[in-house]
């Protein structure tokens, strides 16, 4: 009876037929609005993809050629009188001998028409300074070749390399030009002879920084970044997760905790260069840690990522459904057991995703590293978190700032490598999320 009264009281005042008419009248407009909204969404996605394509096209277009490097084949006579006049074959003597003279001689033999001082210098300039070292290494490895004439593939100079790749503008001939017309002619002749070849640029991936673009590589910066991220993850992840668990599960609800929460959120918004200044003041000036060291860089980046990790970890702890907590408490689990047996396993994928995204941000960060001296010119490959080094983004900054034209393509190539690392890290985050997709 009560039900009946209820129903008659709230029944719609319009009959079914009227409803149909009204819905029909509005339906077309409704669908039109939805279509329009979908179009807006599609347009913004396409715009985003467009920008991405332009960005990638520019970077790859500029950088792909850096993965190949020009080499010149020369028949070098390893003159015993020049490098080992006493015939001792003593490695000490061999390693300091005048190999550039051998190369100059070989070039002159090929192009005897180069006579003047300047022309000879230009001729020698076709080869990189690193070519002599390669020759030395070959002799040291096998002193038996002394006195013979061998054919060597030798590293070309950066401008010669650019010319071979067709990346040197033809306009800047003559006085101010990077490559004289004579040099261009020699290179053309060598090329016609089959003595010029573009090969895979291994040095780019295996060597450290250098003043000569053709000898510069990203391995030093990559290792520096690796040591830095290692320090960052080792410091920031445990600290961040512990802080998140404490704040989410154990902290009393009072004003102090509110202040801490607000400040963690504020910290996430602090510009990264401020963290660099903090690192300079605290780790280097106060604790006396070495400058330019990945350890300090890692600590600074850890401070920077900590709030990000804490916020992500707290969000994923919050996302664990209360029913799971109740179930655990209901069978008599203590609060700590509930947290560690049930909440953490469910929250872990979210925490890891947050951490990886934080790491990716740290990997791309350069401003705070400038503050702590990681912007130094470091040729040596760092051997540990305490040896001086740079990081990938800083290396990009340094190269982008260099006057040599050949650094342009290397800058883009380094950006490609950095982007590849970032993509891999983001893919790992997505994979983790899908792999441990929570099912309940």
């Amino acid at each position: 009876m009560a039900d009946a009264g209820n129903r008659s009281g709230t029944a719609p005042p319009i009959s079914g037929g009227v409803t149909r008419a009204r819905v029909e009248a509005g339906l077309r407009r409704r669908y039109r609005r939805e279509r329009r909204f979908r179009l807006y969404g599609l347009a913004s996605v396409l715009l985003g993809i467009g920008f991405l394509v332009v960005l990638f096209a520019t970077i790859i277009g500029n950088g792909w050629s850096a993965f190949r490097q020009a080499y010149i084949r020369l028949d070098v006579t390893i003159d015993a009188a020049e490098i080992d006049p006493e015939g001792t074959r003593d490695p000490g003597v061999l390693s300091v001998a005048n190999y550039p003279a051998l190369l100059r001689a070989a070039l002159l033999e090929k192009f005897p028409e180069a006579s003047g001082r300047r022309e000879r210098r230009e001729l020698a300039g076709l080869l990189s300074g690193g070519a002599a070292f390669a020759l030395r290494d070959a002799v040291l490895a096998d002193p038996g070749i002394i006195g013979t004439t061998r054919s060597f593939w030798l590293l070309a100079d950066d401008d010669a390399d650019l010319y071979v790749k067709g990346r040197l503008p033809t306009g800047d001939d003559g006085e101010g030009g990077r490559l004289s017309s004579a040099q261009r002619g020699w290179l053309d002749a060598l090329g016609a002879d089959g003595r010029v070849e573009l090969r895979f640029n291994r040095a780019f991936f295996t060597s450290g920084d250098s003043r000569d673009p053709e000898q510069a590589g990203i391995w030093g910066a990559t290792k520096g970044s690796f040591f830095m991220l290692l320090v960052t993850i080792l410091v920031a992840f445990p600290l961040g997760v512990a802080a998140a668990i404490y704040l989410e599960e154990f902290a009393p609800r009072n004003a102090w905790v509110d202040v801490i929460e607000v400040n963690i959120n504020n910290l996430a918004a602090v510009p990264s260069i401020v963290f660099g200044l903090l690192g300079l003041a605290v780790f280097i000036n106060f604790f006396g840690l070495p400058r330019s060291a990945p350890l300090v860089g890692g600590l600074v980046l850890a401070l920077m990522t900590l709030p990000v990790i804490i916020i992500a970890a707290r969000a994923s702890i919050k996302a664990v459904p209360p029913s799971v907590r109740e179930a655990a408490l209901g069978v008599g689990a203590s609060h700590v057991q509930m947290v560690f047996h049930h909440v953490l396993p469910l929250a872990l994928p979210g925490m890891l995703t947050g951490a990886i995204i934080g790491m990716a941000r740290a990997l791309g960060e350069s401003a705070p590293l400038l503050m702590i001296g990681m912007v130094a010119f470091v040729v040596e490959i760092p051997s540990g978190p305490l040896s001086p080094s740079t990081a990938l983004p800083v290396q990009i900054y340094l190269w982008a700032d260099s006057p040599e034209r050949a650094f342009v393509e290397r800058t883009s190539a380094a950006i490609m490598v950095l982007l590849a690392f970032l993509l891999v890290m983001n893919a790992a985050a997505v994979w983790l999320r899908n792999r441990f997709e929570r099912r309940w």
Partner: protein, 296 residues
């Protein structure tokens, strides 16, 4: 009755969107017109739990008002009443689950075997090991079926080796009437079971700890008649050793499984007594309306 129907029917629409606090105030105002005392005998012959003057507030909402009730040993007590009257809230007071809700404030005297369960000296972990609970919504752990049941015994150290643990797990699943269905997939996630199977898994999980009192919040609301009958058989069997408090919306179920029935209305315990009496000859008008289906 007619007047009240009229009043409900003619409510202006904005009333629907009234705030929580307003409606709760209205609730207490109405409750004020009803008898403050409970009709019937609140005591049990051999009480294992006694509750006196329980009051629960959720912030502004006064969800349980002055409820006193005993739960007897080897007895099933059914808690019935319209939706939102506080049955779950009352049940959750008994094993201190309301502690986990920040806004909840519980007062009153709750005793298990004569000991105050809200007293500092009484450990809440121990309490929940002694008073098991099956929740209104099935909530298996996102772990394997085996792990779901084994978790309680494991953290309480009830089994000294794997064979004993296996016995407990398989025995509990058997008693909950689930073993035949899951025997072949015992290592698959418990969350992959159907709703009814999940609820039986939760029952198996609760009885695996071997508690003294079992609180069941609508354990059969997601079950088909066959599974329901099996759970009711289990409840019958469990009464030999345990006390059971069960919330149910099914009068038939309350009549079938319980010895005593308590009728809640708007946070008050209106009437309590032997199940037979409540269903055949209730003393209070509200109880009569409810059990004869004229309310709710």
């Amino acid at each position: 009755m007619g007047a009240s129907v009229q009043e409900r029917g003619s409510r202006p629409t904005p009333e629907v969107s009234r705030t929580m606090s307003t409606s709760s105030r209205e609730m207490s105002a109405r409750a004020g017109q009803e008898p403050a005392t409970t009709v019937g005998d609140i005591t049990a012959r051999d009480p294992v739990m006694t509750v006196r003057n329980a009051n629960v507030h959720y912030g502004e909402t006064h969800a349980i008002k002055d409820v006193s009730l005993d739960v007897g040993r080897n007895e099933v007590i059914a808690l019935i009443g319209p939706s939102g009257c506080g049955k779950s809230t009352f049940l959750r007071c008994l094993n201190r689950m309301n502690d986990t809700i920040e806004s909840a404030r519980v007062t009153g005297d709750f005793r298990l075997d004569g000991q105050d369960i809200y007293d500092r000296s009484n450990d809440v972990v121990m309490l929940r090991a002694r008073i098991g609970m099956v929740f209104q919504k099935p909530n298996p752990f996102p772990k394997s079926i085996y792990e779901n049941v084994a978790y309680g015994p494991r953290i309480h150290g009830l089994a000294s080796n794997r064979a004993e643990l296996d016995d407990i797990v398989y025995g509990s699943l058997e008693r909950a009437g689930l073993l035949d269905e899951v025997k072949s997939r015992i290592d698959e996630p418990g969350t992959g079971l159907s709703g009814g199977q999940q609820q039986r898994l939760c029952i198996a999980r609760a009885i695996a700890v071997n508690p003294e009192v079992i609180l069941m919040d609508e354990p059969c609301s997601a079950l088909d008649p066959i599974a329901t009958a099996r759970i009711e058989d289990l409840i019958d069997e469990l009464t030999q050793n345990y006390a059971i408090a069960i919330v149910t919306h099914s009068m038939q179920q309350a009549a079938r499984v319980s010895q005593r029935t308590a009728y809640f209305h708007l946070g008050r315990l209106v009437e309590v007594g032997p199940t037979e009496k409540i269903f055949t000859n209730p003393s209070h008008k509200l109880t009569e309306d409810y059990v004869t289906g004229r309310f709710g």
